[in-house]
Symmetry: C3
Subunit: 332 residues, 3 copies
Amino acid sequence: MKSFLHVSDIGPLATALEEARQVKATPLAWRHLGEGKTVVLVFFNNSLRTRLSSQKAAYNLGLQPIVLNVGADSWKLETELGVVMDGDRSEHLREAVPVIGSYCDLIGVRSFAGLNDRDFDYAETILRQFIDWSGRPVISLESATVHPCQAFADLITIDEYWTRKTGLRLGSGRRPKVVLSWAPHPRALPQAVPNSFAEWMNAAPVDLVITHPEGYELDPQFVQGARVEYDQMKAFEGADFVYAKNWSCPGVSCPQAYGQVLNYDRSWTVDERQMAVTDGAYFLHCLPVRRNVVVSDAVLDSPKSIVIPEAANRVVSAQTVMKRILEDIKNQ
Amino acid sequence: MKSFLHVSDIGPLATALEEARQVKATPLAWRHLGEGKTVVLVFFNNSLRTRLSSQKAAYNLGLQPIVLNVGADSWKLETELGVVMDGDRSEHLREAVPVIGSYCDLIGVRSFAGLNDRDFDYAETILRQFIDWSGRPVISLESATVHPCQAFADLITIDEYWTRKTGLRLGSGRRPKVVLSWAPHPRALPQAVPNSFAEWMNAAPVDLVITHPEGYELDPQFVQGARVEYDQMKAFEGADFVYAKNWSCPGVSCPQAYGQVLNYDRSWTVDERQMAVTDGAYFLHCLPVRRNVVVSDAVLDSPKSIVIPEAANRVVSAQTVMKRILEDIKNQ
Amino acid sequence: MKSFLHVSDIGPLATALEEARQVKATPLAWRHLGEGKTVVLVFFNNSLRTRLSSQKAAYNLGLQPIVLNVGADSWKLETELGVVMDGDRSEHLREAVPVIGSYCDLIGVRSFAGLNDRDFDYAETILRQFIDWSGRPVISLESATVHPCQAFADLITIDEYWTRKTGLRLGSGRRPKVVLSWAPHPRALPQAVPNSFAEWMNAAPVDLVITHPEGYELDPQFVQGARVEYDQMKAFEGADFVYAKNWSCPGVSCPQAYGQVLNYDRSWTVDERQMAVTDGAYFLHCLPVRRNVVVSDAVLDSPKSIVIPEAANRVVSAQTVMKRILEDIKNQ
């Protein structure tokens, strides 16, 4: 695995899920794999779950994590080519990336979408520089358009709770109905989480329905054949899993609105009203979540809310991915 | 030990002191205990000694520390329940705490008193959320009202220097006279350090005298039966140990003055004048200390100043507490 | 080695280079040396290479690194003696340094020149306090006047590429011509890198030429007998290695100009024009580098640019120095 951005990077999902189950059952069984090796975790943006779960996953594998907070710890980094660097950016990614690569065996990068330039973001410009120039495998820890460690953890969680609900493993019986619902938020947020969630659910044996107000259409490469339903209540009917998340305008039909907040309609806040029409659906959210804006206290604090086990599975997804990469390195 | 806030959490003090002596003598003797385990150290505030000594203590036990600087590294955290989170706080402790708990085996939390709301502070509101919601043992690394790792290190230090002075172990002969003295400071500081120092000295075989200007009375739960003396010179007479520290108004008799600086009387600065009436007392301070405000250079740089060995014992107290917790986990 | 500031601290260079080659060949061969030991890395300033390479070097030796960002993580530190500390600095280095020393086995310190007070900077006032008061070996990770880990990595790199060019080891045939060239920069930078580079090259079997505009004369203790050439093109003639770097006025002939930017002459930007008169010289720079200000894209992206392998050797130099210190500790 040269990079981990898309569901296709992990190979057959059933195999990946089985491996994740083993990692969760015996997290310390591969401690020799990372011995003498380091992962640099580069943060251009804040993080809680990703920061902690990536370090925990590394330790479980005997791998030493080194955290780099760009800007706070090091220098402001220039990302454009051909410029005269006489401003406030002291170092170019063209140097920083291969240097970082020379100090470690794999790299994780958190770099949010800037939401100003759709082409720049959707080309994954920053992450691509890490992939192209570091000489190391690169894991997206949420980059401009994807958050694969989150989506993998989401899938692991859905698999676990589907078994709890039906006694069956995902893929071995009827397909659960999974609803991805837009929700309001006071600030403009990237589309990385819904993009990856849609991509992974499309690849998994589930029926995905996406619901959002008009104008919030996700990029077709992630929506693929999924049903899009503009009536939130209709979308929730009979759902087994509800995944709430805000995102800003993806700019698909109207590129100049890219990254904007098109509406703040609080009727979309996920509450008991919507949950009542589901089939006793479990509630998921990637966190951090704005209480009583994205979702009501009543839903978030209900027994059907599985956001904490979902977050806990971030160690499992990160460790499974790092394990694969370390095995690849060993077999080279 | 589910949490470490009070002297009662560590059990019999003589046993704890003996264990601390062993930890200091052979710090690497329990390296297997922490193997494959992690401690998350959560800092809502700055720290030097606590930050370094907690990490060193963890490493000595084979335990992997993960440091989280709230605000800088992660998100601003909401601490009140029932609010509509449409402001600048992206995440609620209600989620953040169990998530952190899911990534580690024990948690240390530094969270200073806000000094605005006495009830909020004295209820240890922040730390309680960690204790109630994390599912993990929680160590106060100075919380709103207590700093038990410091007080334990203070006791270890007093024990060592009492033996040096008298050839006896603490508890096996006459009781040393220990003076806790208020001292001036340009800013309003929490009461956590004097609270815990008083609590631990009251539990130890020493005679505690507390001296401070009127209005600075500490909370009765910490003062207990200790003698309070408003005349600093009288308090210092015949002392074996002097512990200087500033604190702001505890608001005991006058709640509306809670957290305020009531006076900045530089005659309370600990100097050779006061030390001259002691029985050649050793000088202690938790650090950081304002030179020539809290204490004069002459006293701090004298051979009787033991602030550096006192700080060094922060590794010993932290390691003894972590060791106990790891042994509890093992025996569960 | 009580401290690592100067080339003389590492002993005979041929021995040090041979040791560095072994460290590079088998980086994990000394993992037992650091077992149960910690290094505290104190950063008063930003860092990318030093931060990562020091941690990697420590891990390779089984040594646990603890990073301390002064100001962000801990308290603002007072550095002057005898002051009444009633301002914004909560702690004095007089306490902080021995406390840090008590939590570790060796210390690395990054503390840039303030460029305001030449005497303060050139006395290495901050680093000296660490050396005098910590009780531990201290490594300069770029202090006010020197950057020895960088200069040692530079020498390792020159040795490697000289062998690549001539088939000979440094010292076993003709001496390469090494040019240290000043280059323009929008901000005032310290002289630590050129000082150490000059010092180390003077001690190595190379012919050093230093070139810069008038007024930028480096301190004689570092220049020693090296040729100084004010005509950049003349200096570059027949060079085997070109080392570009900006520095501010060292204040040698004109102390009141210390730390100032005397000129911003872009004709000094290293470009193909200057490289054309060399003997196919390799290009080095310590990084971070301002593209098209210090050096053109054409030179930096050419096959002769070895800035990335040079940065990679920062692990080798740091590890060789830490290894020496750990061996000293073991043999005490």
